[in-house]
């Protein structure tokens, strides 16, 4: 079945319950993975909220100059929202969303509106850290967004290499990642620093987002461009600022248990920073921003 190269597995040594997950901080997480955010319905809702925020801020779902792509891949598709929207936008394209955990729509569709899975969209289980289950040159457009917390710093070159491998000559690879908090008050800045320190314990560089364009160039792509969009954080940024702050605070709740468990901050200090960030986001004179970097490059023909 296009475009998969997967074959039937023949190594089953035990028959025990699914052990992909563990409970931590009251949420369901992937076990033994660098990725620190939950994998549950609450996180799916946050990812959808974040998707609509990013689509509004970026004024679209992509930046690369793609022209009627026939095959599109979304690596780390999360809720599948981006991939399903691309499938609707390009009805003649075949769109694949890849992740370790299927989006819930695949198991329990609402059957209306955006929750109707387009016929030209399919989900594929896969782990980008292992490699992609597709033949070389399978896609015209390969997209990966906000996997910054899932990829250890030493794995980025092999991840880029894999994205490039499955892209056709002349096709495009697009990366989109957040930068680091800027110009905020001590609450927002302190929270963000605690996340950088926490992720560092998992060998994840949470400041690497600003280098996505360089990483594509290093991966052999040409015509590389990188753009930055500064999302305002809080009331001072109007509707999008309030939405950005809501998303940031939701991430803050999700990462709290990890920060505390790793002794980055004690619980009372983390909670104080969180409360301070909430206050800062509610101030109309705030100036905190979060840069978001989008880079794309073309595989040489």
């Amino acid at each position: 079945m296009w475009p998969f190269r997967r074959q039937r597995h023949d190594v089953i040594l035990e028959n025990v319950p699914d052990q992909r997950f563990r409970r931590f901080g009251g949420r369901q997480h992937l076990a033994a993975m660098p990725y620190p955010l939950p994998k549950d319905m609450g996180e799916i809702n946050r990812l959808d909220f974040q998707h609509f925020l990013l689509r509004t801020g970026l004024r679209g779902n992509y930046a690369a100059p793609v022209n009627q792509p026939a095959d599109i891949l979304d690596v780390g598709c999360g809720s599948g929202r981006w991939a399903m929207e691309m499938a609707a936008l390009f009805p003649n394209a075949r769109v694949v969303g890849l992740d370790l955990v299927p989006p819930p729509e695949d198991a329990n569709p609402l059957g209306q509106g955006l929750d109707v899975r387009p016929a030209n969209y399919i989900f594929s289980v896969g782990n980008i850290l292992e490699g992609l289950p597709f033949a070389t040159g399978s896609f015209d457009f390969v997209h990966q967004r906000l996997l910054i917390t899932a990829i250890p710093r030493d794995r980025w070159p092999s991840v880029i290499q894999e994205l490039v491998r499955v892209t056709r000559p002349g096709g495009w690879v697009e990366l989109a990642e957040c930068g680091s908090a800027q110009d905020g008050g001590p609450g927002y800045m302190g929270l963000w620093q605690s996340w950088i320190d926490f992720l560092n314990t998992r060998n994840v560089d949470f400041t690497i987002g600003k280098h996505v364009g360089q990483m594509l160039s290093n991966g052999g792509l040409v015509n590389v461009q990188q753009r930055v969009l500064n999302f305002p954080m809080g009331d001072w940024g109007g509707r999008i600022g309030r939405a950005s702050a809501t998303d940031c605070l939701a991430v803050g709740k999700a990462l709290r248990a990890g920060v505390i468990a790793q002794d980055i901050l004690p619980a009372d200090r983390y909670d104080a920073l969180y409360a301070r960030a909430q206050q800062e986001f509610a101030q109309r004179q705030g100036r905190g921003i979060l840069p978001f970097y989008v880079a794309f490059g073309q595989r040489p023909g």
Binding site: H9, I12, L13
Partner: protein, 68 residues
């Protein structure tokens, strides 16, 4: 001898073949390998147990094994 557990979520037949090939070497140093089915077709949880000072990369380089 204390064993340390590492886990990976794998989907590619080539990765599983590497796990199978590495199993004798892991067992020779007193470790063990478990391949555990998941609820998701095509996705297997692979867990290896290694004594100190061994690390997964010594047996299965570049596969995404992380400490339990």
């Amino acid at each position: 001898m204390r064993l340390y557990a590492y886990q990976a979520q794998l989907t590619l037949p080539a990765s599983l073949a590497r796990v199978r090939d590495a199993r004798p070497a892991i067992e020779r140093i007193g470790g063990r390998v478990e391949v555990i089915p998941t609820e998701i077709a095509g996705l297997l949880t692979v867990r290896i147990y290694l004594p100190e000072p061994y690390q997964p990369d010594q047996f299965l380089p570049s596969l995404p094994f992380y400490p339990m």
